[in-house]
Structure formats: C-alpha cells, structure tokens
Amino acid sequence: MMSDFATTVVRNVDLGRGSFLIEFEDPGIGPTMRPAQFFMIGVPGGDVLLRRPFSVCGLPGTFDDATPGTLQVLYRVYGRATSLLSSLRRGARLDVLGPLGCGFEAPDAGAQILLVAGGIGSAPFPAFLKELSRAGRKASMIYGARSAAELPLLDWFGAHAERVTVTTDDGSAGAKGLVTAPLSERLARGGPLHVYACGPNPMLKAVARLAVEAEVRCDLSLEAPMACGFGVCLGCVVPVKGPQGEKRFERVCVEGPVMPASRMAW
C-alpha cells in the first residue's frame, strides 16, 4: 500500500566515485514491494523543492550485510538533490513516498534471463537477482558504463549473477564499447530469452530495438523527470503504442516504470 512516511537514515555508504548506497528504516513496506518499484525521496529542510524518484535496490534479504529492518537505495551524485542526499548521516530524517509503480514481472518459464544495466541503472537488479535466485532461476548480466568508475556494486553482481559481461565506453573495464555488442552476440545465438534492461534512455532505445528485431521478450525499467510519482503531475510520460497502434502517452510512474520494449513508440 502506497504511503508517505518519514523515516530515518541508518547508513549512507560511500561506494566511491560518486555512488552511494543509502539505507533507511523500513516502516513495513519491504515485504510487499517488488523489484523495480520505486520511491520518491525528499530531504526535509533542503533547498530542493521536488522529491526525486529512486528505484528500490535492496529489499529484505537482498544484501547479507544489510541492517535488519531497512531498505536500500543505490544512487549516484548527479545534481543538487543527490548531493544533498549524500550529505545525510545516521539519524537524519528522510521523506519517502512509496512503493510506487509496477515492478518487474516474473521471467518466462524456461527462458534464459539476461539483465542489461547501464551505470546507475543497475539499481533495481540486486533485489531482482535475489528474488530470481530464491525462485531457483539464474540470470546473466551485461553491465556497461562510460568508465570503470561508474559500475557500482560490480563485485556484488559478480558474486550473484551467473556471469557478468562488462563494457565501458573508454575501455577502462571490460570490453571497450557499448552493451549492445555483447547483447547482439547473445541474441544471435538464439534460444528462449527474457531480457530486463535499465539505464539511460539512449541505451534503452538501442536495447529495445535489438530485442524487438530478434523477437525476444524485453522489459525496460524507465526513468523520467517527475514531480509527484503517483500519477497526477503527468510530467513523466513516454510515447507508447496504443491498442490500435496509435501513439499515446503513458506515465512512467503509474503504468511503468517497467514497460515492454515492444510497446515503446520512441
């Protein structure tokens, strides 16, 4: 059940190079929350007006070293709001609205599972990988970023995904290039596959195009600027195909953030 609650920061772990994992007390929504659902988070008393959307990264049981009774959010310091968030210490108050949006759907039975993450777009995948693992499913991952500095939790993914293929734009980690190169290779091998992708829009567009061409099921976890997170500001819409193939706008916050690649009308 969606609610607006004030909570307390338990830890704000600096993962280095601008990435943080913030941990806050869970008022009891964790067990009902799905991977890829999100929160709107505000820092009381700050000079930022609107809350910002953040995917849930850690649910109960995701991280072995998490403080019991907490939830985790992975973020990168990008602007004023995330800079303010990174300054918070244990005991600081946080305004949190959630859980919001839909989460990832369960993977197709019998399909191999491939997660494609771009930089901080890896945020929803820890909770999802853990859920898959509990269901006895394995998943591979393609993890890309501009450079080695922008691959948060890479070691964690290495330990929890069946295989992690890394790409960077500058070649500072893994293969030099984009996630689309190893994705194309995997698609060319064929076989039943279910792709889940989260990252910047240009990456998602490229991933969606390849998956749709290969007729492989692909779900995208989207991000968009949004003021409210619960469907009323209409700021976060994306163009999708309607039932008759007509283009229309749907809200990332309510109809998403997870949308099938085949429905996008970018």
């Binding site: 607006d4 007006l49 609107l50 003021a227 409210c228 009323v232 500001c233 976060c236 706008f249």
Partner: protein, 308 residues
Amino acid sequence: MTPDLSVEVGTVRLKNPVLTASGTFGYGLEFQPFLELAELGGLVTKGLSPRPRRGNPPERIVETPAGMLNAIGLQNVGVDAFLRDKLPKLRAFDTAVVANVFGETEAEYVEVCEKLDGAAGVAAIELNLSCPNTECGGMIFGNDAASLGAITRACRRATKLPMWVKLSPNVTDIRETARAAEAEGADAVTLVNTFVGMVVDVERRRPVLANVSGGLSGPAIRPLAVWMTWQVRGAVKIPIVGMGGIMTARDALEFLLAGATAVQTGTVNFVTPSSAVTVARDLSAWLSKRGIGSVREIVGTLDAGRAS
C-alpha cells in the same frame, strides 16, 4: 474554541478556505491514499476539454529555483469521461468539486460548460483562459481583457453554475482582466495561473522542455501572486481565490490578508500529497492561538499603511 473556517465564494459555501489547484490534484481520487477528501474546502479538477487530449511530448517538467516549470499540454480525459467515470465517485465525498474548463475556441468552452451545467456534484466552474486560441493565431485567451470578456460572456450564458475565472499573470495589468471578468458575470476570480518561463540546457543549447516554454509555479512566484491578489482586491468587488506557491498556512494567510476569500494549493500537492489538509489544520491553529473566531474576520484586513 475551534475557529469557524467556513467561507463563501459567492454562493459557493466551503467548509474551509483551502482548495487544491487544477492540474496538481488529478481528479481528486488519486489523493485518497494520502488525505480525507472531505477535509478539503474543495478541489479543482484537471482542466477539462470537449474531447480527450494527449498533451505535449516529453520533456514536460523541470525543477527551477524554488519552483518548477511545466508544459503538460492540458492532457486530460475529456469532459464526457469526467462526467461518466470520475464525478460519480467524487459525489461520495463531502467537499466542493470545482470543474476546471478550457477549449481551443469559444465554442469549445461553451460546449464543456453546457455539459457540466446541471451535473449533480459540480459546485462551480473555473475557466482556464491560459490556453491558445486556435482561431486567433494562438493568442492566449486570458492575456487580453477583450477576449477574456468575450469567453466569460459566452460561458455565462451556457451555464447557471457559479463561474470562477482564472486569471493569467502574464499581462500588463491584471486589474484590467479582473474587471473584464467581473463585468461579464464571473462570480469570482482565481489568481494566479503560472508565469511563462523557459529553462535552457546549456550543453545541448536547447530548451529543456519540448514545448520550449512552460508555466512557472511554486514558492518562487508567491510574492508576485500575493501582490497581484492585493492589486485585484482594490479593483473588483467579487471574491478572489488566491494561489501561487502556497506551501504552509502562513503562506495561505498572506493571500487571505491581501484579500483572498479562499486559496488553492498547487505545486505542494506533488511534494507532500497531504499538504492541503495540513494547511487547513494549521490555519485553524493559527486563528485559535490568536483568539480569532472565524477566518472571515481576517480576509482583506491587510494594513498597507502609507503604501496604500
């Protein structure tokens, strides 16, 4: 003693002077997880047009210093779907439902007003005139006293419902459009709508919003809106519903003292969805602490001293 918060905007009686602004409160029902709709003085719906509108392409919003810029493009379900799907549910709540109306032509405004006329559960109509007139080169209806007056007159004939005219701040002298609304039969004026602005993405050398410009709202515009409320108070006799960046009861009090009979909260509904109810409760506490028996006692009591 609990202060009396009830006010009358013309013939519309509100249990308290805090309404929620059009475009920031959906169709009301979306806020049920966060507040009791019955605790609101009233709610103003998303702008309703004759037919559904899909709105502008993204990007549609961007945060600005102490505010936000939006160009949603008046996306809405259309008046027919509102009457069929939303209004019957809203009737269950003891609060005033104000239907915000817009069109691209005078005929479209009239069409929506006629459809709403006589609909059970609509307390009033609010005309949104910050919309381009497609028959007149895209001129904004509300930015000119003559065209605002013409639409107001036409809508006045189309409905017996109390009619509020929402004024644009993007004018040389807001008193002129306020007087035009009053002269053509408006029961109240609502002010202000958003200020037109632009944010530039410096790296891409493009406007951030796909629509190029957008409407600025939030605390950044509050002093401008309070000043316009004060100006209009001196220019018309009909009630004023004031708005612009109200976040707290103290902000609401600025408008009430400057002459607004009621207020609307807008952008704050996105930030903290229960805000409107908090503003009403805190307003009650403010009055109570000062031994003021009714909110009506303070409306328009601003002492501007020599500045007047």
